[in-house]
Every structure is written in C-alpha cells, then in structure tokens.
Symmetry: C2
Subunit: 338 residues, 2 copies
C-alpha cells in the first residue's frame, strides 16, 4: 500500500538501495553523515520496511502463533496478556487462532502454519484432540513449539503448566476436611493430560482419606453448556446426591451454581463447591467461590519466554524445558464447613 520504500528513499537521497538499507540497520559500513541523512528522511516519510519482503529475504517472520481453544475464558485471556507482554517487548507480532476445542480445526491450523508464516508456536491443545500426529508432523519442520497448560505427555517439547496434581489433591482434601463424604468431579475431555493429572490428584486425596472412588460421579462434559447443565442436573437429582463438587474448569463450576439455584440446593450447606478458576468475580458470587487460582498471566509469560529462548538460540536445538508454576487455593464460602 505504502508508496514509500527503499527505492523511493534512495532516489530522493541520490543513493543506492543497498546503502539506504544498511544505513537503516547495520550502519557500520556507512558514514555517520549519510546514516543520519537517511534516517532523517525515513523518519520524515514514516518509512516502515515491508514486512513481507523482509520476511521472505530473512526467512523469519517476527511473528508467533498462539493456538488456543477459546478466548472467552479468563485463563486464556490472562495467558494471552502474558504472551503479548513478552512479544511486544521483543517486537514480535502475535497471531491468534481459536480451535473451539475442535480437533480438525487444530490440525488444519497447525498444517497451515508450516508455511513459515510464524517463527514459532504456543499451543494449548483442544479438548477433542486425541491423536497427536499432526503436532509431531509440525515439529518435523523444525519450528519451535511450546505447550502451555494443555500439553501433550508424549511429545517432546517445552511445557509450562501449573501443579495440577498437587492442586487438585489439595482442593479435594480441603473439601474432605470440611466434611464432604461424596465428591463429584466435573471435567472436560479426559484425554487432556492436565485433566488426567487433576483427576489423579482428586483420586489420591480420596484414597488417602479412605473415601471410595466412584466412577459414576466423574462427569466428563463436552463443550456444550446445555448438555453440561443436563449432566450436572441429573447428577444432583440422584438419590445418592454428592455433597461436594470439584470442578476441573471454571465454566463447569458456573453451570453447577446455576443448577444449584434451579434445584434449590444450598451452597455450601448441602453442596460444597471448589473449582479451578481465574474468575475476577469469584469473591462476589453467592456464595463466594473457593478457587484454585492458576497463575495464568505468568504461565503465558513464561511460555512466551521459553519460546523466545528457542528462537534466539540459532542452530542449537536446546533441550526442552518443563516449567511448573504453582496454583493457589483460595478458600471462600462455597466450600466452608457448615
């Protein structure tokens, strides 16, 4: 679009294109005087190098891709903030892709991104993703990829997540200590390793406290609020109704609240609820929601930092790192002892 480019600048200055180009960057080869003349005119004309020409020539795009299931989710929007803060500082651009938890979409996006459009990728997997060959295929291209939150166990790559097992353990035990005897577990796809870890933490806490594990009160919900509502409602309508809810993701806790209201169940007297969540309104809910608050911003920031570490190291394929950032259990009324 812009009509100001190296050629027009060079012409106006009576210099060659290559001189102008170098005057704008290396500049060790160029006399101080020329350099200043060039930079002055470039500033005046508001010259910005055509990124596509640069990228084509230099074979790097100064762009990273972020692939996430959703952006209407406090965890992911906070993580994006963290990612963006690093990218902006490094003068990189951020392409956002939403999978909406759809495996096919994730595959398609990943495949498209092999073209060199991005220099690296931050990925948080879709819940529907089971087969992971598309990710391995992507890695074969040599493009760095860093997982955050929803990582793959079987793929070798840097990963940033929270202490899912320990947090889930602590949260579950918290419910038990406050009197829960029968704790339901609400989660999304069990094929996600973080969900597995949380489930393991939950089970371990049950076992430690001598509470039998009951598969029938583990509810794996899809990405459909209506359906999830139904699943949770039937859970509560059972004669052997649970007296505690451990929600693996924020949205399910919100739906559980709604179900409780509609069924006239009192929180925390009849049901105690705890959830992984980054809700800013958790303390204002009725009752205030006890949460396992993940360091979302930090996770995003760290993942981006790891990615840039790989981008900056040239040929040396650095060994994958795994960073775990602890979550914090914030006790509120929804889980308090009666």
């Amino acid at each position: 679009m812009s009509e100001v480019n190296l050629k027009s600048l060079a012409k106006e200055l009576g210099l060659s294109v290559s001189t102008v180009s170098r005057a704008l960057r290396d500049a060790y080869d160029i006399s101080a005087e020329t350099r200043q003349r060039v930079q002055a005119l470039a500033a005046e004309r508001n010259y910005v190098a055509n990124p596509y020409a640069s990228s084509l020539r230099k074979n790097q795009s100064k762009t990273i891709g972020v692939i996430i299931p959703n952006v209407v989710n406090n965890f992911f929007s906070l993580a994006i903030n963290g990612i963006e803060s690093v990218a902006q500082q490094k003068n990189y651009h951020v392409l956002i892709y939403l999978t909406h938890e759809d495996y096919e979409k994730e595959k398609q996006i990943l495949n498209h991104l092999q073209s060199g459009r991005v220099d690296g990728i931050l990925l948080s997997m879709a819940s529907e993703t089971k087969d992971q060959t598309h990710i391995k295929e992507f890695q074969k291209n040599g493009l760095p990829l860093v997982f955050f939150d929803r990582a793959s166990k079987e793929i070798e790559a840097s990963k940033v997540s929270t202490d899912d097992f320990e947090s889930a353990f602590e949260a579950t035990e918290h419910l038990i200590q406050n009197g829960c005897k029968r704790i339901a577990h609400l989660c999304i796809s069990k094929s996600l390793s973080i969900i597995k870890d949380r489930l393991r933490g939950y089970s371990a806490a049950l076992e430690k406290n001598g509470i039998p594990f009951d598969d029938t009160i583990i509810k794996e919900c899809e990405d459909d609020d209506q359906l999830s509502y139904q699943q949770i409602a039937t859970l509560f309508s059972d004669k052997d109704r649970p007296d505690g809810i451990f929600a693996s993701v924020e949205k399910l806790a919100i739906i559980a609240y709604q179900v409780c209201i509609d069924l006239g169940l009192c929180i925390p007297e009849e049901v105690k609820i705890i959830s992984f969540s980054n809700l800013s309104t958790a303390s204002l809910l009725n009752p205030a929601l006890t949460t396992v608050m993940q360091p979302a911003f930090e996770i995003g920031r760290t993942a981006a930092t790891l990615l840039f570490k790989q981008l900056e190291k040239k040929r040396v394929a650095s060994a994958p790192e795994t960073v775990v950032i602890k979550s914090e259990l914030i006790r509120r009324r929804s889980s308090s002892a009666s």
Copy 2:
C-alpha cells in the same frame, strides 16, 4: 523453514515453476491431467505456499489487525470471537494488538501497521487517546479501518457499536423508577465517544425525571483498580451518599461491589447498582447484577463483516456505514426496589 516449494515440486514433476503455480490455482490454462498430478503431489508433500512470497507479490496479506485495549474483558474477548469467526471463514489471519489503554502504544501500533502487514484494521480506541491524528494518518494510506465499540466521532469510517445513549437512558430510568434519587455515574475516560453518549443518556434520564445533575458524583476512573477503588470508596463515604450506581463499564461495577462489601453497604437496599457488562456470572453475584448486556459477539462479527466488505470491493472506496446493535437491559436483584 519448509523445504517443499514450487521449485522442488516442479523439479520432481518435470514441469516449470509457473506451470505448477497455475495448476494450483487458476488452472484454466492447464490440462486436467497435469493439474491433477500437481495437486496430488502438493497434497502428498503437504505443500503450503510461502505466505510472505505470496503477499509480497500480490500485495495483500490475507491478514487483518485487531487493536483493542485489553483482552481480559468479557466484551472484548467475545468481540474477538465474533471477529475470528468471520476471519476464519474467509481464510484470513488475525493479528491481535493490545494497547492497554495507552495512547502511545496505539499510535505506535498503528504506525507500524502502515507497512502492509495487514490488509485492514479493526480498532477499538484506547481510553487515553485524545488526539486522533495518528488514525487519520493511517487512513491516508488507503487501508480500510473499521471502528467497533470505541469509535471516533470525528473520523470518517465504518463503525459498529451499541445504542449507548438509549441503553444508558433506559438503565438510569430503571434505577429512578426503583426509587433512586441520587445516582452516581462511574466511567472511564470521557474523551471516548461511547462514554460521552452513555453520560448523555444518563443525564437525559435524570432531566426527564426532574433529578438535578450533580457533577461531583460523576467519577472518571483511570485504568488502575487501586485508584478506582479509592475513588468509589470516598464517593460512598460522603455524607450525601448516592443511593444508586450506574457503571459505564463492567470492571467498575465489580469494584463497586467490593467497596460495598468492605463498607458494609447492602445492595440493593442501600445502594442499587446497574452496569454495562457481559459477565457470564452476573446472575450468580451476590446480589445478582442488573446489566446492560451488549451484543459483543455480534458487534465483533459485524465489524469484521464490514471490513471484509471493504476488502472485497476493489477500487471503489465504499461509503462508510454505521451499524448500531441494540443492547439488552437485564433486570436482576442489584437494582430491585426495596
């Protein structure tokens, strides 16, 4: 990165680069047999055209830029969803830039984007932006720009927003009808036209109902939660304490809730609150928050659609359109009559 390109395909097929290129798109010039051979190999090799070479040559990037103040905000994340849904359908890519309400950052981003990195821009202005010459400068390049939500009155461009005046009027009158005599108005920068409109709607409702307008209970808050908290707290500590709060943005309503809790003020008995908001937990708050719910997804979707309309119309600079999508007042307990 990828080692498969037109040249390698051409070599393997015993064809020329140009033939392969055309076989993959126009293909009217190419025999059916060759076309199939080419496409088969391309599919097998997982060929994706280098976007930078394409963009450089075709002078279009298949990318749009979205500039917003923040992503940790239900309105904007829903809007992004709307934008992304259109972009994905059109096979476009979405670059996200966050201004964090900072004028300088907005200016810098806009300036950088003149380079042709994007084919068009969706902009929701930073609250600190007063001077708008950087936007006008940008437009001079001929790149299409569509405002959504936070638009500029003085700039000619397509705009998508909600009925800010009417919604604010209705909301304020709702408070009055439920008994409020002294309604404070919490807003962010008054230089934003949507904020002005909401303020006008508020004033008009007061006037219609014979309530004097009082400048001292209009609080213009910065993007700093601590500070906002202080401002709202002092507002409530006044002897002539307001009995109603109209929050122009979600975050201020949340802070107001917090202040009420800390000061021991009962909502809605002592203070009624209403807010522009897209909180999914509004109905679960204590008490449930009455909201003016903006059609955030729709606004994003429409803005993107308008942008693509301009992108698809070639040379004809289509006249700017202004689309207004109505918000919905959802009455809940925070504003109910005592």
